[in-house]
């Protein structure tokens, strides 16, 4: 039976949820769930998990764009049908994992992946740079301050050798969110690339009545910068809002609630870099990423300033950090004043917090290090 537009509710099925995961376990996973003893990364991108039954699961991890076509998914299916008994999985960071049940099956799989051009780079394990988690950007979002897929492609091209190797002091998690909403949750990443707006919203008085509930737009502003106002449209007075630009922090929350308040701008928008966040509880507690570069311009198609900034931080960290130390742990050990110096990042007043709870980040001790900042 097919869908009948005249009777959309006939025979309707709803609330059935996702498919049951156990249907999709590869046989070696189904047989050994809960029985795994240990794992080892035998080469970049290849992991073995050993079960108490003696079974082994060999996983080959492959990087992928987050934006992928069904043609590419079908090609992944071809690979999994040929090598992996018709199963594979995705990771939370947009990597693809092909699993086989013996070491002997790994090399043929690697050879197959390699034969397909640059579509399936093997890596993303251990003390390296794994795939960048990111948002939609100009490809599919209405609020972005930058693109996502293009910036990520440019950065990953430059960091490719760190994806396919494990030479860093620890894993480095990079994330990109294309505006301050941070759908990509970049707030706890080793290096975060964040799209930022720098101009207050414009007010489209002609449209605001039709598309916007004014109280929602007014209450959307966390700083009370949006106030009720009146404006003349075609000789008629309409109720609208005004924005106190001095108080605007360019978060875009008003635009989220009101389409008549667009704030994106080719010159205003760009990228900020935040560093030192982590999610894991290993050694130290989870940390937020901190803003170290307030603005880099949008320079499509390859964002050279952003690419250079990320690479510069990564290489300063790689050279200086201790084994196991995450970027944030390194920065805290050496002190943030040293971080700026070692990364050769100019310190600006924009890195000094003046939002809520700002005082927590101000230094209230006589302990500091002499760096080139002190003349």
């Amino acid at each position: 039976m097919a869908y009948d537009p005249a009777n959309p509710m006939v025979d309707r099925i709803s609330d059935i949820g996702p498919r049951y995961y156990a249907e999709f376990h590869p046989p070696v996973i189904a047989a050994n769930k809960g029985k795994w003893l240990w794992h080892e990364i035998t080469q970049p991108g290849v992991l073995v998990h050993k079960s108490e039954t003696g079974d082994e699961c060999w996983t080959v991890r492959v990087g992928a764009a987050r934006l992928i076509s069904i043609e590419l998914i079908r090609e992944m299916c071809d690979i999994a049908d040929k090598h992996c008994e018709g199963f594979f999985r995705f990771t939370t960071r947009n990597n693809v994992e092909f699993m086989v049940d013996s070491k002997a099956k790994v090399q043929p799989l690697l050879d197959d992946l390699k034969s397909r051009g640059n579509k399936f780079p093997v890596g993303g394990t251990g003390a390296g740079v794994t795939n960048i988690v990111h948002t939609q950007g100009w490809v599919h979002c209405h609020t972005p301050a930058t693109d996502a897929s293009g910036v990520v492609k440019a950065v990953m091209d430059e960091l490719f050798d760190y994806f396919t190797s494990m030479t860093l002091p620890a894993q480095v998690r990079i994330a990109l969110a294309c505006c301050l909403n941070m759908c990509g949750a970049v707030h706890a990443s080793d290096i975060a690339i964040l799209g930022v707006h720098r101009k207050p919203p414009m007010i489209d008085h002609k449209r605001i009545t039709g598309v916007c509930e004014l109280p929602l737009a007014i209450s959307a502003c966390p700083l009370g910068a949006v106030k009720p106002a009146k404006a003349m449209v075609d000789g008629v007075e309409v109720k609208t809002v005004q924005v106190n630009a001095e108080r605007c922090m360019f978060c875009g929350n008003c635009y989220t609630m009101c389409p008549a308040m667009p704030l994106a701008d080719p010159d205003g928008d760009g990228i900020a870099i935040l560093v030192g966040g982590k999610v894991s509880n290993s050694r130290s507690a989870p940390k937020f990423s901190k803003l170290v570069i307030p603005f880099l311009p949008n320079t499509p198609p390859r964002w050279p300033e952003t690419v250079a900034a990320v690479k510069g931080i990564l290489e300063a960290y790689a050279k200086d950090a201790h084994k196991y130390e995450r970027v944030g742990e390194w920065a805290e050990r050496i002190g943030w004043e040293k971080f700026f110096e070692k990364c050769d990042i100019p310190f600006t007043i924009k890195s000094i917090d003046d939002y809520r709870l700002a005082y927590d980040t101000w230094r209230t001790t006589t302990q500091f290090k002499y760096t080139s900042h002190i003349k």
Binding site: N181, E213, T256, C258, P259
Partner: protein, 81 residues
């Protein structure tokens, strides 16, 4: 004294019809029966959608309720996903 389900339905519809703005948050319906738990009110409001009497007015980030007859335009606010 809590309202019966039918009384609650009628109160919610009246609110959706007469409120100054067409889109309402679920919280706006809580006053229809101060004795009911929020989840009961939510369930009744969602039943009214199933019956075709209310519609969801979803922006991506936030979802509100509305009477179809009071919504002018299919474009509206949207938000983070």
């Amino acid at each position: 004294m809590a309202l019966s389900k039918d009384e609650l339905k009628a109160a919610i519809l009246k609110k959706a019809e007469t409120a100054p703005k067409p889109q309402l948050y679920i919280k706006d319906f809580y006053a229809c029966d101060p004795d009911a738990k929020p989840r009961e009110i939510k369930n009744v409001a969602n039943d009214l959608v199933k019956e075709g009497k209310l519609m969801f007015w979803s922006s991506g980030s936030t979802t509100m309720y509305a009477m179809k007859s009071r919504i002018k335009d299919e474009e509206g606010t949207s938000g983070v996903n």
